[in-house]
């Protein structure tokens, strides 16, 4: 049975998968399938999806923001957004997990930037702060990164690639800030972020 064409964003439930019978063996259900059911307003599917992704969403947001209370707020926003926007998920653009984690990261970064804008609208990062920022990010990464394959992949990068990726992704810095923190030209940082991620992609065998 070919799914009828309802437009690109409405992802059809895979052929043969009757939503009504799919609550059994939930562990095996793809996140994409759950999301398709969530898009139809299925709260039970949402609860299952929540249990699968909430730890990842919260963990990432907390990694970036540090503060548990703020992290909880932002994680809630993200998880609610998953519910609201489920019908907008487009599998052609990537996996459900990527979609959710991208939103989580974006929201965390938005929070970092809006707080920064208020705190120090016109201050530049001082040298002392630089070191502290980098050390604390590096330390966090060291102590909290549990997934060994990610650790190994990061270890496979050059120092500059790894520092740039960690400061930008986990530290929530713009690439300009990263350049300043690492005392490295802007263009180099842009390039290292890109080739660092490409290397991670290849090491970890990530596909879109």
């Amino acid at each position: 049975m070919t799914p009828p064409d309802h437009g690109p964003a409405l992802r059809a439930v895979p052929t043969g998968a009757d939503p009504a019978t799919m609550s059994e063996g939930i562990g095996a259900v793809a996140l994409e399938t759950l999301l398709a059911r969530v898009a139809q307003g299925d709260q039970k599917a949402y609860a299952t999806l929540y249990d699968r992704v909430a730890g990842q969403v919260y963990g990432l947001v907390r990694r970036v923001l540090r503060d548990p209370a703020q992290s909880e707020e932002v994680a809630q926003e993200v998880l609610l957004e998953v519910w609201r926007l489920a019908a907008r998920f487009d599998a052609a653009r990537g996996s459900a997990n990527t979609w959710i984690m991208t939103m989580a990261h974006r929201r965390a970064i938005d929070r970092v930037r809006s707080e920064q804008a208020h705190r120090d609208r016109d201050t530049r990062v001082t040298v002392r702060n630089d070191e502290r920022a980098f050390d604390s990010v590096a330390e966090e990464v060291e102590t909290r990164l549990e997934h060994a394959h990610v650790r190994r992949a990061l270890d496979g990068l050059t120092d500059l690639q790894r520092q740039a990726v960690e400061l930008a992704y986990y530290g929530g810095h713009t690439y300009r800030e990263v350049a300043e923190l690492l005392n490295t030209p802007l263009g180099t940082v842009k390039t290292r972020l890109r080739d660092g991620l490409i290397r991670l992609r290849d090491t970890m065998g990530v596909t879109a």
Binding site: G7, Y50, A54, Q56, G59, Q76, T98, H118, A168, R192
Partner: protein
Amino acid sequence: MTAEAHTLAGPYAVHALPADERAFFERHIAVCDTCGVEVAELLATAAVLGAASEEPSPPGMRDRVLRTVDVTRQHPPAPGEGSGSAPARRWAPPSMLAGVAAVLVLALMTLSGVTAAMNQRITELEIALADSPLDDDRVLAVLTAGDAQTRPLDTELDASVRFVYSTALDRGLFVASGLEPLDADQVYELWLYHDGTPQPATIFQTDSDGRAMAVVEGAVAGAEFAAVTVEPHGGSPEPTGQVVIHGAV
């Protein structure tokens, strides 16, 4: 230009671009398949980095989110193929704002238990928010701020007026329903008083049903009093018109 754009895929995938370059690159990937594919792969790679930070989520969060979901309207599927050229976010379509109200519900439940009075207030806010074109992110940030406070304001009009603000964000959200729509040559102006002196906060107009919502940036922290006057088009540096809304914040 293309070579320049290509290098932005890395910073883009980890949200490390400032807004202008982000917008530039998004226009680029809308027309460059190579970059589009690369971005999708790098976003997936970043997501793996993110997932590696997994940790148990706070215990109360699940119940709150599930309860909120129960009262939250979902968005319809994206209209048509053109999602690559997203409309300007600043003027969010009404459906986005339905979510804002839901987030407010969530924020209020986070702060304290849900009471009947609070439900009433939420309903009023939901009504007021339903059709208002506003920047979703800034509104969300106020509503979900840990220190968000909601103050009802007094008015002799048959109107419901609230001022929600966060001192930490130094940002406020003014929400009203039941105001009288003004003539085109007049505006409502909101004043925040610091040490007894009114400072212009924002000007706004209502929709045809008398509903209004406005975001106030800055000079919110430390304000002791709020008032709304009717002023000539463009607003005034000091209040000149009749005070129609007032109250302590």
